[in-house]
Every structure is written in C-alpha cells, then in structure tokens.
C-alpha cells in the first residue's frame, strides 16, 4: 500500500456538482483505508472499496454512530431527540424492524403505487400551471415523499403542508434557529400524539392503526413513545433523502439529454435507470460512520477498537472491481449491486418505498413532460450546503 502523503480533509470536494471528487479513484487503487480529518477535526479512516464498505456496513462489530465527526467534540446528546426513542441496536432493533418492516414489503409498495402516481400527477400539474421555468425540487421532489409518508401514517391530505414544514425545519439544522426547531418538534409531538389517540378509537388502513392493533392482538408491539419515534424516524429518514435523490436523478438524466431520450423511447428501462442513478450519484453526502467495538482488520490493515470509520458508499459505487466502466451512466446496467441504501441488518428499511417513489416520479415525468430539459447548464447546478445528505439546492427545468 502506498503511504499517504497527507491526511485528507473530509468530506472531499467534488470537481463539479454531478461529478465525483478526484481522489476516489486514487484512494480505491492505492489507499483503501485512508486517513482523514472529519469536519470537527477528529481523525478517522475512510473506506472507498466496494468489498470493504459492504463488509463493514454488514458487520455487527462496527457499531452505528451517526454522530461521528459531525458535531463538536464533547457536545451533549439532545435529550429531546425523538429518533432515539426507536431502538437502534441488537435484539430490540431487530424486533422494531420486523414490526415496522411488514409495512415496507414489495407487496405493500404495489398497493401504494396508484396513490403515489396520483400525488406525482397532481404536483406536476401544479408545476405546469405556474411555469415554465420551475424548480423541480421544490415543486415535486420535496413534497412527494412527505405526502407519501403522510398517506402511510394515515395523516389526512389537509395536514400534509404542516408535515412538510415540520420536516423541513427539523432537518435543516443550519437554516433555522434552535427556537424554531424546538417549536416544530413540540408541534409535531402534539399533532402525532393526537393522531395516535384518534387511531385507537377509529382505526383505518394505515401503519399507525396496524401497529396499535398488533400490540393489542399479539401482546407484542410498539408503545406510544415508540410509535411517536417511528413516525418521526420515518419522516427524518425518508424525506430529505428521497427529495434530494429525485432532484439529482432528474438532473443526471437531463444533464446529458440523450439519456432522457432513451427512456422516452423505452420506458421499460425506468427500473434500471433508477438503480443506475442511485449508483452514479456522486453527491451522496457524508457516507456512513461506524465505530469499532473490537480490534479488527480491513483490507489488510489492523484497526484498533474505538477507531471511527467512514464508509463512502458513493466511492464504492464506482469501484471498477465490481462495475464495468463505472464512470459511464449505463441505464441498462444489470445487476447493479450499489450500496446507496447501505448493507446488512441496518440497510435502509425504506428502500422498497424509495425505489417505488423514484420509479413513479420518473414514469409520470416521462409521460406528462416528455420535453423536459434543464433550464441551466449542468455545471451551474448548486449543491446544498450541509453535511449528512448531499443534494442540489434547486433543479431549474423547463418543458
């Protein structure tokens, strides 16, 4: 292994909004376990090869820690952090995952599809009514996933806008004040608690009602606090990620418009095009952090217990050992074992939902707006400032 000349500052900088950082190829080739400095100055190891990233994410000895490197040294946990009401490790996590997971099966997604199509069509119509040009992220990418989560939770359509606002404030740590965050969280908790109570007396065909019923009939299920945490967790995990991915997917497909045209000719390639967009996403954000619970070895390098490790799924998704011609966006690529949803027992619970949302978005766009194009040159697209999830600030389009 060639020695590293200097410790890299992480996250690495991209050369252009849709292009990968230059270092990825070199690191994968010569330095698969690289020394980096995280934003708070702490040292960590960066993994970039498919094999290592996959094995690390799936290995229970690498403990999940979303807080690595993104918060100042010594900062206290926020005691009001609702996502911590959902168990994140061991048996308890498995139990939670199995209880909630039955709502994320492929069969469920098929049932949800017509509702999603309607949401996409309505949003696109509203966008058309006020444009062109329009910001596809604000008009479609941002609202669609919240509306879908609302439907799943049984939240009525009239309250969708409030959900969008709470979600936006809760996720945008930089744009809003602590006061606004606390208020939104309180409003969300008050609303959701009322919603849970209402579902106890008037259950319907939604996730909250089903989880309540399960607890009553099977004696095992989620308590009210866990239900609240689950609702919040799904919103936090499923909104910004999907919203950004919708924006990036459409931007990548339009940046070279021959890609869009190929899909217009053959819409049956939507499924593989979605997977390829997930793989090719060079602006995927921070990656996933893990901490070692015991000494181990990665790519031949000994790593002691306590080592913070950052897995770059986006770099692994361009590993030439696994993907032929990884720099090329191949809309027919099969199989496509990208790691954008993580791997192993903690891999994205909502991936079937996210995939369905992305497929529906693309199908409806191709059908309703075949003349869609970017309203700015691709190199003028602006990445969002933030750490965890990468995305584009706006996706200006016309048709």
């Amino acid at each position: 292994m060639s020695p590293q000349e200097h410790t890299l500052q992480y996250p690495l900088t991209q050369t252009a909004p849709l292009e990968p950082p230059q270092e990825w190829d070199e690191l994968r080739r010569g330095c698969p376990v690289a020394d980096v400095h995280l934003p708070n100055g702490a040292p960590a190891k960066l993994l970039t090869r498919h094999e290592d990233v996959k094995a690390t994410l799936a290995d229970p000895r690498f403990v999940r820690d979303i807080r690595v490197g993104t918060r100042p040294e010594g900062a206290e946990d926020d005691p009001g952090d609702l996502t911590r009401m959902v168990p994140s490790t061991g048996e308890e996590h498995l139990r939670w995952r199995r209880l909630v997971g039955r709502w994320f099966t492929a069969k469920r997604m098929k049932q949800l599809r017509p509702g999603m199509e309607q949401i996409a069509e309505d949003l696109i119509e509203a966008m058309v009514a006020s444009g062109p040009p329009a910001d596809l992220k604000a008009g479609l990418g941002f609202p669609l996933p919240v509306f879908v989560i609302c439907d799943m939770l049984g939240v009525p359509a009239r309250d969708r806008e409030r959900f969008s606002r709470w979600s936006d404030i809760l996720l945008n740590l930089t744009r809003y004040t602590g006061q606004e965050m606390r208020e939104s969280q309180q409003e969300f908790v008050a609303y959701m608690s009322g919603h849970i109570e209402a579902k106890k007396t008037a259950p319907a065909d939604d996730l909250i009602s089903a989880l309540i019923e399960q607890r009553e009939t099977e004696g095992d299920g989620l308590g009210d606090t866990e239900l609240l945490g689950t609702a919040m967790g799904l919103l936090v995990a499923g909104h910004e990620t999907t919203a950004n991915m919708i924006g990036k997917m459409v931007a990548m497909l339009l940046a070279d418009r021959s890609r869009w045209e190929r899909l217009l000719e053959d819409p049956s390639k939507v499924r593989t095009a979605v997977e390829e967009s997930l793989r090719a996403d060079a602006n995927a954000g921070f990656g996933l952090s893990r901490v070692l619970s015991e000494d181990t070895e990665v790519a031949g390098e000994h790593l002691p217990e306590g080592t913070p490790v950052v897995c770059s799924m986006a770099a692994a998704n361009r590993d030439e050992r696994v993907f032929t011609d990884p720099g090329n966006m191949d809309l027919h690529r099969v199989p496509n074992p990208h790691l954008s949803f993580g791997a192993g027992a903690h891999s994205c619970l909502g991936q079937a939902l996210a995939r369905t949302e992305l497929q529906v978005t693309l199908e409806v766009l191709l059908r309703k707006l075949p003349t869609l194009e970017l309203a700015v040159p691709p190199e003028e697209l602006e990445p969002v400032e933030g750490l965890l999830v990468g995305g584009l600030r706006e996706v200006p389009v016309r048709w």
Binding site: T105, M109, A343, S347, A352
Partner: protein, 65 residues
Amino acid sequence: MRITVDQDLCCGAGQCVLIAPDVFDQRDEDGIVELLDPAPGPELKDDVHEAAAVCPTAAITVDDG
C-alpha cells in the same frame, strides 16, 4: 438451478421480490423472504441471479448445477 435463502440473514428489503416475484415473496408478518419456487425454470435465471447479486445481506444463494 437450485435456490436457497437464509431467513436469518434477510433484512426484509424486498429487492428480490421486486425483481423476481414468481420466485420470492415476503412473509406478511415481518417482510422476511420466502421462497416460492426453489427450482425455477431457465427463463428466470437472469432475474434470480440479479436478485441474489443485489440482496443487501447476501441471503440468496443460487446453484446453477
């Protein structure tokens, strides 16, 4: 072609069912994989291999022999 699945490994991501619905299903109780057809015909070979390759926990094994 013989297929085996390891239900202890499966995380219920449903990728296999999306790709090869005639071969894989998910249990209603918890979304864990169920094998509908352990020996599907050759016309499903590509789909089955794709499902096995993209399964996030490598819970699907295919023996082509």
